[in-house]
């Protein structure tokens, strides 16, 4: 008997199962043993240790996450820095360009949407790694650009003219935020390595079967075997 199709939305190879038929509505093919002395084969779905959400659902979640991130990482900063403050008389100058916000925030949104959409596939590690590295680079570029200058404001007093300039440097905030991001890059690298070295290894723990589904499965197994269900 050949193996069953991969779980929905998974690019990892699924565990091979055997046995014809199975409970109605269950995935895989299994059924009562054929003939005397044949080994008892359970439905393949009973042997799984994970409960993967469907790929369309994951993609929908990824798109929704991407849209939210585009709003918060791209549109909102541009609105604040270039529309709100740009239209005011504060005369704020800084090195954070629209291109930086667009490409940097866009890269974060796309990669973050990617690892959410493909979290059940082998592409998860790549997207996760790309997202963390993009975040690290983005924070570093923001740190080099996060010097805000206000003015010069011109005023006169007692016949003299004067100009006032104010400078606020918040680069160290981004340098501080790079510490957890660097650790997250290491974590993403380990996940990427795990996905490449042991495909599907993380799925039972990333997507564990819920207690309710586990209980139902035990009841199905008991009915299949003709034994009382566990208490």
């Amino acid at each position: 008997m050949s193996g069953t199709p991969s779980p929905a939305g998974s690019a990892f190879p699924s565990p091979t199962s055997a046995g014809p038929g199975g409970p109605a509505g269950s995935q895989g093919s299994a059924g009562p043993a054929q003939g005397p002395g044949a080994p008892v084969r359970f439905p393949e779905v009973w042997s799984r240790r994970h409960d993967l959400p469907g790929l369309p659902w994951n993609i929908a979640k990824g798109i929704a996450k991407g849209i939210v991130l585009i709003f918060f990482a791209v549109l909102l900063p541009i609105e604040i820095l270039y529309v709100y403050f740009g239209a005011s008389d504060l005369m704020i100058h800084h090195g954070i360009t629209v291109e930086l916000l667009t490409y940097g925030g866009g890269a974060l949104a796309v990669t973050s949407a990617g690892f959410t959409a493909f979290q059940t596939t082998a592409a998860y590690g790549f997207f996760r790694m790309a997202n963390r590295v993009a975040k690290l680079v983005y924070q570093y570029i923001l740190a080099t650009a996060a010097i805000f200058t206000f003015g010069p404001y011109l005023f006169s007093y007692a016949g003299a003219t004067a100009s006032l300039g104010i400078r606020i440097d918040v680069a160290d905030i981004f340098y501080l935020l790079m510490i957890p991001t660097t650790i997250a890059v290491l974590a993403a690298f380990v996940t990427l390595y795990e996905d490449l070295r042991h495909p599907g290894e993380r799925l039972p723990w990333d997507f564990p079967i819920s207690r309710r589904k586990r209980r139902r499965r035990e009841q199905e197994m008991a009915a299949y075997l003709g034994v009382p269900p566990p208490p």
Binding site: P152, G159, R167, I168, D169, D172, L177
Partner: protein, 275 residues
């Protein structure tokens, strides 16, 4: 029975631990940033600058150091993080630098409700006074100055203010004119009436002594004559002073020198020739 609980794979555990470390580090950073903001608000409302002795400023003169102006305030840091401030200034005119670059250096205000004095002493060297101040007393002079105020709070927030000012120094004896009149001789003594005119364009009143002296060939012709002046700002002054000395000394070609004395400071003014 299916075994649902297994020990997690090593790589999975490692990635999980690292993710937890990243979350913990992010949490610590965010708590730190939030505490700095809270502390900054607390500091802003409780800074309470109080002036030190002499109302916060003091003047001092010594021939060796020149003229010094000191001012300062006491600041109390009741936040949780140190505050470092640095104030510096410079001023110059077309005649030269009036106030050389002067800085307080980095003054640290430690947290814990401690009070530290923050002040700057601006020194005008004696040489500067002698070279330029005489001109600045009698000619309105363009003057430019820069003041920089830099600070660091909680090690990570750096801020700075810079003020550049351009103005005209209003001379306290603008267009000082000393005109010797016709000398009159009697009993070996010669008296020269000298008329004095100027306008006080300074922002302060001229309150001091104007001293005139006739000098001939490097020799003083008798004692100096002093005129006390008290001219409010933007007011003109016209006065007359009689200088008396030996007839052999007070001859055409002699020079009438003028000096202005205010407090401990004596500054030479432009001289005028008799005849």
């Amino acid at each position: 029975m299916i075994e649902y609980r297994r020990r997690r794979p090593p790589l999975y555990r490692l990635a999980r631990y690292l993710r937890w470390c990243a979350v913990l580090a992010l949490f610590i950073v965010l708590v730190f940033l939030a505490s700095t903001i809270f502390s900054a608000v607390k500091l802003g409302t409780g800074l309470n600058p109080t002036t030190g002795p002499n109302g916060g400023y003091a003047f001092h003169y010594s021939p060796a150091l020149g003229y010094t102006v000191s001012f300062g305030v006491n600041l109390t840091n009741d936040g949780y993080y140190p505050l470092v401030l640095d104030l510096s200034a410079v001023a110059y005119t077309p005649l030269g630098t009036v106030i050389p670059y002067t800085s307080t250096g980095a003054v640290t205000f430690s947290p814990g409700n401690t009070t530290t004095e923050f002040g700057l002493t601006v020194r005008i060297p004696q040489s500067t006074l002698m070279a330029n101040a005489g001109q600045m007393l009698v000619r309105n002079t363009p003057i430019a100055g820069n003041v920089w105020f830099n600070g660091t709070y909680a090690w990570i927030y750096q801020f700075g203010f810079s003020v550049s000012a351009n103005g005209t120094w209003g001379a306290p004896f603008e267009n000082l004119t000393i005109v010797p009149g016709t000398p009159t001789a009697a009993a070996g003594q010669t008296t020269v009436p000298v008329s004095i005119r100027f306008t006080n364009n300074a922002f302060f009143a001229d309150v001091g002594n104007l001293t005139l002296q006739v000098v001939n060939g490097g020799t003083d012709c008798g004692g100096p004559s002093t005129l006390a002046v008290d001219v409010p700002s933007q007011q003109s002054f016209t006065g007359l002073l009689n200088l008396t000395g030996p007839s052999t000394c007070m001859v055409p070609g002699a020079t009438v020198t003028a000096t202005y004395t205010v407090g401990p400071l004596t500054v030479p003014l432009p001289s005028t020739r008799i005849g």
